[in-house]
């Protein structure tokens, strides 16, 4: 108990001012904001449909999706200082969500987390919700899921696959953010130089944070494998043959 109190006190002392890391309200011109919002709609519709299909098969999946939404919400507004860059940013969490419930449901999870952040925390914005959901939800989830499945298909362990998935989900998200930002603000300027300018500006912060997100994702997946491998089977992350012998 004393240890919990000590750690809680340290956490409260360590609470630092937080900064938003998504594209803020008003940065994108209306036409671009609308375009990204429309681009997200089919993924959201497919995600809701997929969630309903999964919930029909097993109702207990819904609380799990709710829990994952809370995880993504917390992870994606948790500022982590990067001393080498002198800035702070956040992991995304959509990599682990995509691994566990699939990329389409992960898009819905990201949209809910980003909506709450935009409404109550002034993180991101309502007009840029579509753009932020596209980068973090669609690109982050797909990059994470494809990387995880790809590495698993090549015989990679859960930890290695989770690490690469988390890392690529993070880097994919910020690559997409760079493209969305560059295309929205460039005016008459050429797209590619501006895109690379944004990417280069993100690198000092996101390169180490992507590696950290890989470690977090690998840790979460291996922890689940050790403690609740049945959940991983239920979510089709592993097969019954891959269950640990003591489970």
């Amino acid at each position: 108990m004393a240890r919990i109190l000590f750690l809680t006190s340290i956490s409260l002392l360590a609470a630092t001012p937080a900064f938003a890391m998504h594209i803020s309200e008003g940065i994108l011109p209306f036409s671009w904001a609308l375009l990204w919002s429309l681009a997200v709609v089919p993924f959201l519709a497919l995600g809701v449909k997929r969630l309903n299909v999964l919930a029909r098969e097993d109702l207990s999946l819904k609380p799990l999706v709710g829990l994952l939404a809370a995880v993504v919400f917390i992870i994606s507004c948790m500022p982590i200082p990067v001393p080498t860059a002198g800035t702070c940013s956040h992991p995304c969490g959509t990599g682990v969500a995509a691994i566990l419930v699939g990329p389409l449901v992960s898009v819905v999870i990201a949209a809910v987390a980003l909506l709450i952040q935009a409404l109550f925390l002034a993180h991101g914005g309502l007009s840029t919700l579509g753009a932020n959901t596209f980068s973090m939800g669609v690109v982050g989830s797909l990059a994470g899921w494809l990387a995880f499945r790809g590495v698993r298909g090549m015989g990679g362990s859960l930890a290695v696959s989770g690490f690469i998935a988390g890392m690529l989900a993070d880097w994919g998200t910020y690559a997409a953010t760079s493209l969305i930002l560059a295309s929205g603000i460039r005016g008459d300027a050429p797209l590619l130089p501006l895109f690379f300018q944004v990417v280069l500006a993100f690198i000092p912060t996101q390169l180490p944070l992507g590696i950290l997100e890989g470690v977090i994702t690998a840790g979460m997946v291996t922890l689940l494998y050790r403690k609740r491998p049945d959940l991983l089977v239920k979510m089709r992350v592993i097969t019954e043959k891959e269950l640990p012998t003591h489970a």
Partner: protein
Amino acid sequence: MPERKRKWRILLMHTIILPTLFFGIYFFSLAPKSWEGVDEAVVEKIAKEHGREAREPLIDPGSGDLLLFGFLLAGAVGGFAAGYYWRELTKKG
């Protein structure tokens, strides 16, 4: 003799770990240093160079950091409770 050696090792570990821990907490949180978010350092800076500036949020939470911290605490407590009662939560009725 091994017991004495073990005590010295523990003492040595603490002389390294404790200052590192205190320095870490000071460096990352208590020091009067602003860790600029990449939204300001990258997104808003480059957007401003191209004539786009961030607007005030539609719903301004005012003390956003406090609200964020409240959300984080509530999320952590809710997550802990949901995790602790997970089997109850997912039990078939």
